[in-house]
Amino acid sequence: MNFSNAFTPFGWPIVIYLTLAGLACGATLCAVAFLHFENKAKDGQSSSIVKTSLYLAVASILIGSLFLAYDLGSSGRFYLNFLEFNPSSAIAWGTRIITIFVMLCVFSLVLLNTKGPGKPIGPVLIGLLVLFSLAVGIYPALVLGQATARPLWEPLLLIPLFLLLGIHTGFASVQLLTFNKWTEESLAKIKRLDIGIIILQVILFGLLISLTSFSSAGKERLFSGEFAIWFWVGVVLIGWALPFFTSFSASSSKKIMLLSQLCFIFGAFALRTVIVFGGQGAQAFISS
């Protein structure tokens, strides 16, 4: 399947970049959630999960940025993004937000590694981490949303959808990396949360397809054309159905939970693939 032509400027590297940016957002929020509990308990039990989350956030956003740089027509001129600033461009803001975000994560990690368990990260830093991780989660939706001629990239619906996908991908990735540290009780809570997140994803995607002026030809490409496999198998089956039924099953086996989280991550990637590629193309931007 050849996706690249003059009308689909955003290719695979951009899909990976957007997915990793969302993952970084989710991983940081996961770290913040555990920092909050740790501060309450003051037992230092969660510090390894917090550190893993922050390492994951930094790694994913940096790897994502490498994909972005690779995708540039002139990769050697990536530095121009830092030298030049167009205040009306979402990407220009995103570059600054990601830079500050990485610095905050690295600073937090330094504090965690030097001060040890207890209360090494103050409320101001936690607040900044939340603020910038949310900005990193929202930013991919704004990048696509700025292409107003592409109806499927409606920012008002993409923002909550991408944020939801990002947060969930981040939490699922942290779970995969720190699985032996999670208690049965917390896993049971996550199972219940998963059901709600899947339902929200379905609703938001449904609204995106039905409320926007996405052309019928575009829908055809998505549901029965070249992206049908990605949508029906990647999103619906792997991303939504499998984790949904897993969440309802009585078993809370860690292996099943692990598989469920893997399905979630792949499903989120598939959904972004469908939205990024499906939103492009000559058919998609004609609204009349």
């Binding site: 400027p9 001129r77 121009l80 461009s89 990407i91 696509l144 004609i286």
Partner: protein, 228 residues
């Protein structure tokens, strides 16, 4: 809003017409277009547009009911509310004082945000430089008082260049007299390229198979005959 960049040829001689312009634009009279592609070829030659890319291309649109073809030359619309200008993170896309939208190659890193933002598919990445490029209404020619290459080459006088910001300019009068209007007005970008006798069905027809791919069953403009 900071001051707009000066027109590159400001202060030089023989540029009176270009400097006077408030809104450089074009009217494409579809009644006159014969689909000969002379404008596409002239543009490619004049601007050394790489193989596979076009600043200006003529779309052949099939009208199923009457079994006839209509021709639709498409190029950068030099929108007054240009989305490419907003999307570019490095301010490589700028607007000149006469309204035309140009890409400053020095500032471009090939992010492609402008390509994604353009409702007309008018921008491409130059394979050689890796930077975005598009029609600039032949600034190098108009600075010398010449018409853009596509306008000069049109044998049917279907393309006309002038100042849409001047009510007394022949182009504005022509546009008003013949009811010229923008292509894809719904995009809301206020293009400076207007079309005479543009019909509703054309927007939808132009959206199908715009990209030139091996699967495309329409006219192949050019073929890479070089042996690899």
């Amino acid at each position: 809003m900071s001051k707009l960049p000066p027109i590159p040829w400001e202060g030089t001689n023989n540029n009176q017409r270009a400097l006077k312009m408030k809104r450089a634009g074009m009217v494409v009279d579809l009644r006159r277009c014969i689909g000969c592609h002379a404008c596409s070829i002239a543009c490619k030659t004049e601007n050394e547009v790489p193989l596979g890319n076009f600043r200006n291309r003529v779309r052949y649109l099939e009208q199923a009911e009457s079994e006839t073809l209509s021709f639709l030359p498409l190029l950068c619309m030099h929108c007054q509310d240009a989305p490419c200008l907003d999307a570019c993170p490095t301010e490589a896309v700028t607007r000149l004082e006469d309204g035309r939208v140009v890409i400053n190659q020095e500032n471009c890193c090939g992010m492609k945000a402008c390509i994604a933002a353009c409702p007309y598919g008018a921008i491409y990445i130059d394979a050689k430089s890796g930077r975005a490029d598009k029609c600039d209404l032949c600034t190098h020619r108009t600075s010398l008082g010449l018409e853009p290459a596509c306008v000069a080459s049109c044998p049917a006088d279907a393309l006309r260049f002038g100042d849409l910001g001047d009510p007394e300019d022949p182009l504005t009068e022509y546009a008003n007299r013949h009811g010229a209007r923008a292509f894809k007005e719904s995009a809301g970008t206020q293009p400076s390229i207007l079309y005479v006798k543009q019909e509703k069905w054309m927007e939808q027809a132009a959206a199908t198979g715009v990209q030139l791919s091996p699967e495309d069953d329409e006219i192949v403009y050019e073929q890479n005959t070089r042996q690899s």
